[in-house]
Structures are given as C-alpha cells and as structure tokens.
Symmetry: C2
Subunit: 143 residues, 2 copies
C-alpha cells in the first residue's frame, strides 16, 4: 500500500495540458487516482449500488452479489468502512447480527455510481452491437 516514493500526501492539482485545457492530475501517487482505483472496483461498486436506502446484513449482501466470496465481501466492506463510505453496526446478540449501511458520504457517492449503472443499462444494447460488429470485422480480416 505504501509506495515509499513520496512522503507527503500529494493532493491532486489540476494542471493545463498541451492544449491549454484544464486537466486533472494523473500521477500515480495522486490521491484521487488511488481513491478512484478503490471505488472503481468490481465489488465496491456493487456493494455501494446495493446499499442504496436500506441497511443490509452480511449474508444478505453475500446472497445478492452473485459470485462474491466471503473473503472478498469482508475485505471490500472493511475498505469501504475505512474510507468512511459504509457504516458497520454490530448488535451484541447471539447469534451475532451486523448491519451495513451507507454513510452520508457514501450516499452522495451512490448517486454518481447509480448514474453509471443507469448509463450501462441504457446503452447495453449499443455496446453489445458494437462488440458484434468489431468481432465480425476482425473475422473478415483473417479471411
């Protein structure tokens, strides 16, 4: 996790590119890059998308997210909790009951994530068509 290259947390500063357009920083040690890498994660994205509105229990999330392993769900939830996006509530009962919910910060992120999901749903057929076209043309070039 620690690269050891830079000591200070490098804040992202927008700079001008060759075209004079205000461009966001893409340096690897840039904090925004690191956060994006975390958010733009297969499982994180699904968890945040699912946690909209209602709280959910561990097993419930596990059931809903087809294909996730117990380990990855635990890891993902811990990261999201650490980033302040998800709140974990342990109820001292037997058997244990743990609830997960979005924090206000997580809720605000949910909006943009949902927009991404919506975009995907809206354009899935276009993408599927593009893929078919591409694969078809690729075959033709071989023959």
């Amino acid at each position: 996790m620690e690269e050891g290259t830079s000591n200070s947390p490098s804040y992202c500063c927008r700079t001008e590119d060759d075209y004079g357009v205000l461009q966001w920083d893409t340096r690897e040690d840039c904090e925004v890059r690191q956060i994006l890498d975390r958010i733009a994660d297969k499982w994180s994205l699904l968890v945040i998308a699912l946690l909209d509105r209602h709280t959910m229990r561990f097993t419930q999330l596990r059931r809903e997210i087809d294909g996730i392993s117990q380990r990855m769900l635990t890891t993902t939830l811990r990261q999201l909790e650490r980033d302040g996006l998800v709140r974990r509530t342990v109820h001292p009962v037997v058997p244990p009951r743990v609830d997960y919910a979005l924090t206000p910060l997580g809720g605000s992120l949910h909006k943009t994530i949902q927009a991404l999901v919506d975009w995907t749903e809206e354009h899935q057929s276009e993408i599927a068509a593009a893929r078919t076209r591409y694969d078809h043309e690729a075959r033709e070039k071989i023959n």
Copy 2:
C-alpha cells in the same frame, strides 16, 4: 474471454428485492455486470476521462497516464474500441500515426465518469480523514 457457461446473452432485468424495491440484477452472467466490470476498470476509466474533447495519440496517452505499461494501454484501447467507446484512426504514414478519440457513445459515458472523478476530487479530504480516523481507532484497540 468466453465463459462457455451460458449461450444466450442474458439481458439484465430489474427485479424486486425483499423490500419490494426495484433492484437491478446482480447475477454474474448479467450483461450489465460484465459491462460495468469493464468500465469500472482502473485504466479504462483514466483513458475515457483523458479523451474528453481532443483526440490523442498512443504515446501521448502513455505519457499522460503515469504508470501504465505499453501492453495495458494497448489492451485497454482495444477493449474500448471493441465496445464502441473509442474510435481508432490509423494514418498511413511513416512513421505510423494513430489517433484515438471518443465516439458519441464514449462521449456520453464520459459525462458520468467525469462526475465520478469530480466527486472524488471534492471528497478526497473527507476520505483521507476517515482513513486516518479508522487507522487511529484500529491502533487503539490493539493497545
């Protein structure tokens, strides 16, 4: 790339969850899931974010995206091209010149991606604070 498990392209259909809330499909073979996995990719996201407005050449992208290898840039661009998000233009000159630009479809995706980047920039300090808090509390529990 080919899973071989299902033959027909399974379209995502929204279903109702336990709460009666309209929930999007999270099945692993769901097409939306697959597209999201592709888009919510470290490098894809950066490429789309950078290709806003102006076209860019291969080396130019390579320079801007700190840390990307030649192989990953090629792979990422091919996937984006296949998905119809990026247009690749080869100029028949020596030395070769190849331009990359967003398609209209890619342009529409860029908007939501940019929203994600903007969100990250706006809230990076909150996330950083949350991490510090979390790590601090974790240390206390050990002692």
